[in-house]
């Protein structure tokens, strides 16, 4: 009898534990694997900004936003906009940034492509404008943007006299395999306006500069998907340092930027780097 009792207790307890555990998982799920980068604070809210790496870096940053009010309650009915701005010595400019969409559980998501790192004199700030109910709020603060260890974003002037920003999105975890590669391509309309550039082809030529400029077979150039991003296939035959030479080609097959890798030309003027 005693035994049965204790077994019952044990079962109940374990069910309870596993249930509560599960709930925990659900609650934290949205921010699982993410690290807080910074919190923007105004009189009413604390706005937490999260990324996988816990920092903002040059290139493509997937950013998760959580808005908490003074009571610490998560606001899940806000409409959010953001504007990153670079304050340089003689000028200001923005960078490509997506719209911010609501995910689940009070988490908003979008991405920002920083073309350059910030410093003491030249710094980035981020303005977040959000509306809850009919009330509009705003918050602005400086953010630290560090330089990524590898080159993952290119800003360049194409031969069509347009300025482009091209940033690597994936593979975030490259493997010795055929990797899915994706990138975002923006056209710079003004210092503060960047629009997704449609119908281009991003040609890739991955090379190992440390191995006599070895390249891999069966790569597929990036073309635009329905979501506006560019997708292709990237073969990496071994681990190590890879230079992904790039060429930007428009719909009429004109190369706007970048050079083909040949016996006499070791690399393109625009490229991404991967090391794993």
């Amino acid at each position: 009898m005693n035994l049965l009792k204790s077994v019952l207790v044990l079962i109940t307890f374990s069910v309870f534990v596993s249930c509560s555990k599960k709930e925990d998982v659900v609650v934290s799920n949205e921010l699982d694997g993410l690290t807080l980068v910074t919190t923007l604070t105004n009189d009413t809210h604390k706005i937490g900004l999260y990324t996988a790496s816990g920092k903002f870096q040059t290139g493509y940053n997937e950013v998760y936003v959580q808005i908490k009010n003074a009571q610490g309650t998560v606001e899940s009915n806000a409409s959010v906009k953001w504007t990153p701005l670079m304050h340089m010595m003689g000028m200001e400019h923005s960078c490509p940034a997506s719209t911010v969409s609501y995910k689940t559980n009070g988490i908003y998501k979008g991405y920002i492509v920083f073309q350059m790192a910030g410093s003491e004199e030249e710094y980035w700030d981020l303005t977040v404008n959000y509306t809850i109910g009919n009330t509009a709020y705003t918050v602005t603060d400086t953010i630290a943007v560090s330089a990524a260890a590898k080159r993952v974003v290119e800003t360049f002037l194409g031969s069509d006299n347009n300025r482009y920003v091209l940033a690597l999105v994936n593979p975030a975890k490259p493997a010795v395999a055929v990797n899915d590669i994706s990138a975002v391509l923006y056209k710079m309309e003004s210092m503060t306006s960047f629009v997704v550039a449609d119908d281009y082809t991003i040609k890739i030529d991955p090379r190992m500069t440390g191995m006599g400029n070895h390249t891999s077979p069966n790569n597929v150039n990036l073309t635009q998907g329905t979501d506006g991003l560019y997708y292709g296939k990237l073969s990496l035959t071994m681990t190590g340092y890879w230079k992904i030479n790039l060429q930007l080609q428009n719909a009429s097959q004109t190369i706007l930027k970048g050079e083909a890798v040949t016996d006499t030309n070791e690399g393109s003027s625009i490229y991404f780097e991967l090391e794993f």
């Binding site: 010795v176 440390g210 191995m211 006599g212 891999s216 077979p217 073969s235 190590g240 090391e275």
Partner: protein, 648 residues
Amino acid sequence: MLRLTIAFLLFAVSVYSQDTIRTDLLKEVEIIHKRSLSDKTDKPLATLDKYLEKSNMVNMVRKGAYAWEPYLNGMASERSVVTIDGMRIYAACTDKMDPVTSYVDITNLAKVNVHSGQSGVGASIAGSIDLVRKKGAFGERKLSGMAFTGYETNSAQKVVGGALSFSKPRLFTDIDFTYRHAGNYKAGGGEEVLYSQYTKYNVSANVGYKVNEHSQVEASVIYDRAVNVGYPALTMDVGLARGVIASLAYIRHGWETKVYYNTIRHVMDDTKRPVVAIRMDMPGWSKTAGFYSSLKGSAGRHMWKGNVSGHYNKSLAEMTMYSNTAGEKDMFMLTWPGVLTYYGDVFGEDNYAITDRWRTTVSAGLGVQNNVVDDVQGLESLRIFYPEMERSKVRVLKRLSAAVNYAGDRWQYTVGVGYGERPPGVSEGYGYYLFNSFDRYDYIGNPEMKNEQSVSMNGAVGYRVGRFSGKVSGSYFHLMDYIIGRPRAGLSVMTIGAVGVKVYEQLGYADVINLGVEEDWQIGEYVTWTNRMSYRRGSGKGVKNLPLIQPFTYSSGVGFLRKSFSADVVVNGAVKQARYNEEFGEEGVAGYAVMNVSAGYKFVWGRNGLMLKAGVENVMDRRYRTFADWNKVPRMGRNVFMNLVWSF
């Protein structure tokens, strides 16, 4: 030299004759004499490679002084099955620096059965080579042993070893040990061939126990360890090649069942090379577990045998390259992606006596092989080339053969036909950027290839009368879906300095022809004159000449034997190789002839014997190379050797 090292075929004691079936003309048996007074070889402590090289059916492709690759009937080692006492072993080096034959020492062996065409050991095209270990016998209580040492001037090679055997009516044990150490050798003319040194340790032991009148159990183990092995023909050497080979057998009359396991570790090493494009580590592992059970019997005019066998292997090899740019991460790849092989086989053979002199032999075998790519990264690597590649592949491998023999007093004939299939080898199927230093191509395996098939015909005529005996033998192999690496445009080399990438493909067909002539004259009471000639020809669809095919090669030797004294003079040579494969990096090879002389004497006192053999190889110090010398590395120049064997 060759006179005595090779048991002349017509006198050869083959497995069949032990089974009281008459000698098979298409089988060569290399008797490796115990290093005892009965030894008739000119150089008892020669390496196994040198022994095998004397066979008319075998060529040894050489990348240095050590671990030569046996080519049976002019075909690379993937086309034959090399076993040690029937055990399957897979080499662990992606660059064929460790053929199975490199994991034994001559001291371990009693004989080598070289069999052309299909046999019980498994799917093959060219045939099989079984390295038969020497082992003790039950008998009176007795302890015997020997100790030996040798020295060779050219490479300062030292050989030291010994053996002990103990027998009782129901027990026998043997143990032997050999140590070889050689420095760089010098080619004819005196040029030192750098990175041709090696050191090898080999220990082997056997134990047999007679359970009862009908049955016995035997256990055996070989531990072989080669270190600091130079490969002058390659860009890397070997730091360690280690094999542990163990087995347990149960024998009951004509029924033998064995389980075995072996593990090979092979570590390449470039630290001795002052200049390399990039530093790298290239370790490889191969583990094999298997069994066989064979049964022999007779009924009326039939003598039959059946064999069931199976084995499992895992071959894994890695390459890590250390970037020349400081701070860059290491470059890592799997050159053998953890290839699992599961193989099962059944084989049957029937030998039927039509008359006293005429017999027919019919055999059939069926193997099933499953290859699985075990490592996920390895699989994903190969899928870069073969996006649709399946992880697992099953192959069915069939083989058939039929032969007719005539054995008269003077004449012997045999004529046979065979059909065989083989799967691609590990490198051919799954290799990943394997650099071949001969043609300087990186090779990519092809897992989607079909089995290679072969239809073969072979025949031999032997004649023996009085003081003369001779044999003419030939074989013709017509291979279909012949596996060969071909240049693939558009692929980028991985190895710095490589000229291109080859991918294994299949030629519609290829043909290989082998011809051999051997004759032996007894002149007077003490002198024997022996001649051997052989020729091969290989070509394929769109390939005029297959690579590494032996041109007309000959040897002629006169031996003198009287009581305790023996002496030999032998000339080995070849005509120039005019048929070579440029795509494989071959160039013509000039003809050559080299002379070897040796003499021996044995002393006996009581139960003790002391044998002294000495000789000079390449007496004229000719600088030469043969078709089988990888990357044109010249052969050894003048070499004076001395072997001393004390037995008790």
